[in-house]
């Protein structure tokens, strides 16, 4: 019974009628979706306000070298800069809602197209980083919890502290020095798409993926260790041990399954860390992804692209947060009420 109360995979096993659970879930989903409306509103206000921080006249900045008053006036009219700020905001939101995030001022390509073009690269890099983070973080966390207060535990904790304290751009530079400059094993920069040559693609992304996954592995290790320690002290693990089960079965079948569920949902919230890390990692390894897009846009003063990237990032983060929330509630019956 203890196992039922503290874990939770399938609702039918816990004696919750399926219809009731579905209705509770729909209620929860509805409530969470309603909460999203003001959050998204404020996100849009923050991102729109960024433009207002620009010193001077935005039309002049957009015009760049162009100093013809007629051209500047046309820009002002085209981007509704001659209208009051609330009206400008409404135009901007209207555009965003219809999928128009503006146009790159430098290369005159729709911002959304640019983002969609760069996104697969970052998704590949991010997925590899997540796999690396999960493998290292969860293994280290489990070993640390099982071998509490031993040299393994101290080593895993030291690894976590190292991962959290190491700036990933420094780690990236040091790895380039070791694996590219000294050993010549991996390319120092550049990107080969998976579809072109999967070996070369893996070779070009393994080092940046490790750099990106390292910090997240450290965070996951801490979550896993604390969740495992909690689970290992629970009644059902004690019962499983008392039944005479092998320690390996107790750990893998009883403890790990229950400890990892919250860890994985918490891991979804590390998406922000992943994207922030991608900005620096892609810059160091010259990978033409989402992160490099924002930095290039910053230096080209392509503000529409900067706004677009922040907006897409925030929206994806909000959606992932919602999914993580729902997943967490789905596997934890006590939170459904």
């Amino acid at each position: 019974m203890a196992s039922c109360a503290s874990s939770g995979f399938r609702s039918s096993e816990r004696g919750y009628p399926v219809g009731e659970t579905a209705s509770a879930m729909l209620n929860l989903l509805g409530k969470r979706l309603l909460q999203l409306i003001p959050t998204l509103f404020f996100v849009s206000v923050i991102i729109f306000s960024l433009q207002q921080l620009l010193p001077g006249d935005p039309a002049l900045i957009m015009a760049g070298e162009e100093r013809d008053p007629a051209v500047i006036e046309q820009i002002r009219h085209q981007y509704h800069l001659d209208r009051p700020i609330p009206v400008q905001y409404l135009y901007w939101v209207k555009g965003v809602l219809s999928g128009n995030l503006g146009e790159s001022m430098r290369i005159h390509v729709p911002v959304l197209d640019l983002i969609l073009q760069k996104l697969p690269v970052t998704i590949q890099l991010g997925s590899m980083a997540i796999v690396i983070a999960l493998v290292i973080g969860i293994s280290a966390g489990i070993i640390s919890a099982i071998k509490k207060n031993t040299i393994w535990d101290y080593a895993a904790n030291a690894f976590a502290l190292w991962g959290i304290s190491t700036p990933n751009f420094w780690l990236g530079i040091m790895l380039i020095f070791l694996f590219s400059v000294k050993l010549g094993w991996l390319p120092a920069s550049g990107y080969v798409p998976l579809t072109e040559d999967w070996r070369a693609s893996l070779a070009s992304t393994i080092m940046p993926a490790f750099v990106l996954g390292n910090g997240i592995a450290a965070i996951l290790m801490r979550h896993t260790r604390s969740a495992m320690l909690q689970v290992l002290e629970s009644d059902y693990v004690r019962t499983a041990r008392a039944k005479g089960l092998y320690e390996r079965t107790v750990i893998l079948k009883h403890a790990m399954r229950n400890a990892l569920t919250p860890v994985i949902t918490l891991g979804a919230l590390e998406f922000g860390t992943l994207l922030s890390g991608a900005v620096l990692t892609e810059q160091i390894f010259t990978i033409p992804g989402f992160g490099k897009l924002i930095i290039d846009a910053v230096f080209n003063r392509d503000y529409a692209v900067v706004q677009g990237v922040v907006l897409v990032t925030a929206t994806v983060y909000i959606v992932l947060n919602l999914l993580a929330d729902i997943a967490y509630v789905l596997v934890n019956p006590r939170l459904r009420t």
Partner: protein, 298 residues
């Protein structure tokens, strides 16, 4: 009523955190890692303050005869691509990093704590409004929002600090609000309310001192994050501008000379790592020392 008055006189609220703090400090100093962290932080603060006295060379003076020299007796950490002493630049770089860490967390505290106090204590519509604004800011990944803010404000160390401070604010709003909700129903707050204290006095004299420990832990850990963020912004060219030294911008130029002068990348990176590690050690130590579950073990 009389009982409540007597209780507040017997245990003045302002004394409670002092006792807690003293006990926490005792526990903190028992943790070797935290003491080591504190010592390293103190060392870097001393470096930053006394940089002009400790540095035998000018951090921005260039010398074409000393370009990319490896470590030697006269230049312990070697020299950079413009012949500047790396050790001296690392020492001066501590100023930018520590200043950015402390000032940006100061900005985050000074905006976040009042908003969190208001949201937690007053509740209602204001709480919902502040809560949704906080959610919105937390939805934008920390560094991406800081980059965007720094880009729109213009690249400089001051603007980087503002960008990091504003971006770190929602963490303090959320933490303060949660802490206020946890203590506002405590007996001593009820007592302060019952004897007719005005709201501002209850919040600033009775609640704020009692939530300080949690804020202190978060502030310490946030300084570590802010130092990395400043270094990242300077690395990207959005923080401290050349020729002024900063660990992040030193790494940026080091990247181009990795084959011929790898020492240019080693020292500033190591300085960031050691400083951030020290703040994390102090933060972890403080968190354990202030954890109520640890009280019985002290």
């Amino acid at each position: 009523m009389a009982d409540i008055t007597v209780n507040t006189k017997l245990i003045p609220a302002k004394d409670v955190p002092e006792t807690l703090l003293r006990r926490a400090m005792r526990r903190l100093f028992r943790r070797k890692s935290a003491v080591l962290g504190l010592a390293i932080v103190a060392f870097f603060i001393a470096l930053a303050i006394f940089a002009p006295l400790l540095s035998p060379y000018d951090p921005i003076a260039q010398s074409w005869t000393l370009v990319r020299q490896p470590s030697s007796a006269s230049h312990w950490f070697g020299t950079d691509d413009l012949g500047r002493d790396i050790l001296v630049r690392v020492i001066y770089g501590a100023r930018a990093s520590l200043l950015a860490g402390i000032i940006s967390v100061g900005i985050a505290l000074s905006i976040g704590v009042p908003l969190g106090l208001a949201a937690g204590y007053l509740g209602g519509f204001l709480d919902s409004l502040i809560g949704r604004m906080t959610d919105a800011m937390l939805a934008c990944p920390f560094l991406i929002l800081a980059i965007a803010l720094a880009a729109f404000l213009g690249p400089s160390l001051g603007n980087a600090m503002i960008a990091i401070g504003v971006t770190a604010t929602p963490i303090f709003v959320r933490l303060t609000r949660g802490q206020v909700l946890a203590v506002k129903m405590e007996d001593y707050v009820e007592a302060a309310r019952a004897v007719g204290n005005p709201r501002w006095r209850i919040v600033f004299v009775h609640i704020l001192p009692n939530i300080m420990p949690a804020l202190l832990v978060q502030a310490t850990l946030s300084i570590a994050a802010a130092i990395i963020a400043e270094a990242a912004l300077s690395f990207l060219g959005l923080g401290q501008q050349p020729p002024e030294p900063s660990w992040g911008s030193m790494l940026n130029s080091a990247q181009r000379f990795l084959v011929n002068a790898p020492w240019m990348a080693v020292w500033p990176g190591l300085a960031i790592f050691v400083t951030v590690l020290s703040f994390n050690l102090v933060g972890d130590g403080l968190r354990d020392a202030l954890d109520p579950r640890e009280v019985g073990r002290s």
